[in-house]
Symmetry: C2
Subunit: 374 residues, 2 copies
């Protein structure tokens, strides 16, 4: 799985693995891909530095990246408290009632909860970046919108490529205009924030829209044959996120959540605003059902919704309240049916890719000689 | 593009083209694929026979198929009038008001309209089949649910393979149990009736669920690279419907509709119940917006909705009322940007497929020798 982009980055496989877990990111890099650590859940630069230190020490010198959420529109001077004050009382009541209906206990004293999305805030993202640029990042990805111009410049001076996720060709063009080096075409079937256009249609559209920039296909990719499909669509690599959630290295901290992921079929996700206020694909749960119910108050816009539900999600996770327990994940969850190590997963992906290309070569009436490149 | 299935059917390319237009079906077969004529809009067996006669005379002896809508549950003895009587007055009023708001004229006297979906009715579908089995059909496809057992038997005695569309692995297994020979995995991004699972995820799921039955990938496929992706996912062929709508041979009878299709982007479709009562992807129009508006009466279940809107759709088409004018079409509509002949389209598809396989072979580190088979 070698493309121009993978050669440029010095990785063996054109395989980009997004994960909130440093141990998974390190293992992806060691397995020949590029591990990309998600930064949105870090509350302090110190926490991020601790994990980047660990990551740097565990990649065997291989390259790695960081995924941040940098809003293109600055909202400087706005504190979390300012935003909290904008949340209607009725929505807070709905959260309390829904938790009470499922008997969800509170957090222990001093427990700040594991789930908190504050990385979207200008000041938090900036402090994270100040910390992150002390490390030799190979890739800096922006999960939402085009990155600010000064961040792109700073990354380039630092020798770091900048990537941005796009759910439409229009978004992709905006990213290209912002100086991004790599566009991640994130299809409808992907976990997390997605648009309406499926990977099969979106990938070639984005490839044509930003040519000659390299594009990564994301969404619905969890096997070697799906990697072959993504690359057939013109991508120079694939971006995988969901698949790592059930790896040994993930240690999600919740056996109940892992069990739900292993049991879920491809039809058990929903594109809901319940998590952040923007449509994000996730496990469908009693929690998402409550928010998506027309009889309820509905969700608030980003960033209010994320702040509104942060403590509730921490409580649900801490106490493993199974009916409400969820996570962002793509439709590929239907294929995640065992807990394996990252290396085993990558081996499967690369072998499956080889088999798919062999089969395609036969269909095209081409002989498929053995690999002669070593 | 040769697979076990294409060899078995004696076609050059593993490319199945669904179309309501006999001239398109014939041209697809002549170009080396398998043209499949949609039968749902024929009102009498005589009309269908007329077009099958024409088709048989214009395929240069090549194979062709028919796509019908056979409900698995029989509703014998129910007439169209019985169903009409179940439609609430408020819904009829909504149709009248919406048409009036856009100044849509009535049909001329004696004009029965071009749009009428009655093929779903047991008696209509049966009469169509009686007529159809007088022809050497290579493939009989069922667009909705598994075909009835006696129809499968009759097709097999006739030497006709039976195909059925599936939007989930569960549906596909039901089809396999009903004796179907080929499953069409119809992804979320496809035109017409679709489920929620995207082609990238659905295709390999269905392939694994019905192994060793051959599977066709459908949804989001309108280029050679997308065909390569579909086949990489394990399909033995691809099923294309939308792409033919803007071919020269289609002669949709509406230059306004063709113009809308050429102008539409991949984000200009919607999965709406407005057409039949079941979610079907189509151009988003003021008409679908009206039905999908929470302030409106909402849609009726199948088959009521189809009967309710039949005359209205005929009027919209006859008078080319642009804001309301639509058609079932997939997200691939974003790629349909010129009117070309079917042969030119197929040439593009096969060349694009070759290029995609060549590129993939390079990525896999395999030399890609010239074709040694042809």
């Amino acid at each position: 799985m070698r493309t121009e982009l993978s050669e440029r980055l010095g990785i063996e496989h054109a395989l980009f693995g997004f994960t909130p877990f440093p141990a998974v990111a390190a293992a992806i890099t060691r397995a020949g891909g590029l591990g990309v650590l998600g930064a949105v859940r870090y509350r302090t630069p110190g926490e991020l530095e601790r994990d980047l230190d660990w990551l740097a020490a565990h990649t065997d010198g291989g390259p790695y990246g960081l995924d941040v959420v940098m809003p293109a529109r600055k909202v400087e001077g706005v504190t979390e408290a300012d935003v909290e004050a904008m949340i209607p009382a009725g929505h807070r009541r709905f959260v309390r009632d829904t938790l009470a209906a499922h008997g969800v206990p509170g957090l222990a004293e001093g427990d700040e909860g594991g789930w908190r999305i504050t990385g979207w805030m200008e000041e938090v993202a900036r402090a994270q970046l100040d910390a992150a640029f002390a490390y030799p990042l190979t890739l800096l990805a922006n999960a939402l919108g085009p990155p600010p111009a000064d961040v792109v410049d700073r990354a380039h001076r630092h020798g770091t490529l900048v990537a941005a996720l796009a759910g439409s060709a229009r978004h992709a063009v905006r990213h290209a205009e912002a100086g991004v080096d790599v566009v991640v075409a994130q299809g409808y079937e992907a976990g997390g924030h997605t648009g309406e256009i499926a990977t099969m249609v979106l990938t070639p559209e984005v490839v044509r829209a930003v040519d000659p920039l390299p594009v990564l296909a994301a969404g619905g990719i969890g096997s070697g044959e799906q990697i072959a499909a993504g690359l057939a669509l013109g991508a120079q690599g694939v971006w995988l996120g969901s698949l790592w959630l059930t790896t040994k290295e993930a240690g999600t901290g919740s056996t109940a959540l892992t069990a739900k992921l292993l049991a879920a079929g491809s039809g058990d996700t929903v594109r809901s605003r319940a998590l952040t206020g923007k449509p994000a694909r996730q496990l469908r749960t009693a929690w998402t059902d409550a928010w998506d119910d027309p009889a309820g108050p509905g969700t608030l816009p980003m960033p209010l919704q994320g702040l509104l539900v942060a403590e509730a999600l921490s409580r649900i996770q801490r106490h493993e309240v199974v009916p409400l327990l969820g996570t962002p994940v793509g439709q590929i969850v239907g294929r995640m049916d065992s807990v394996r190590g990252v290396q085993a997963v990558v081996d499967d992906l690369t072998r499956g890719f080889e088999r798919a290309v062999e089969r395609l070569s036969r269909v095209a009436g081409r002989a498929a000689p053995p690999d002669t490149r070593g």
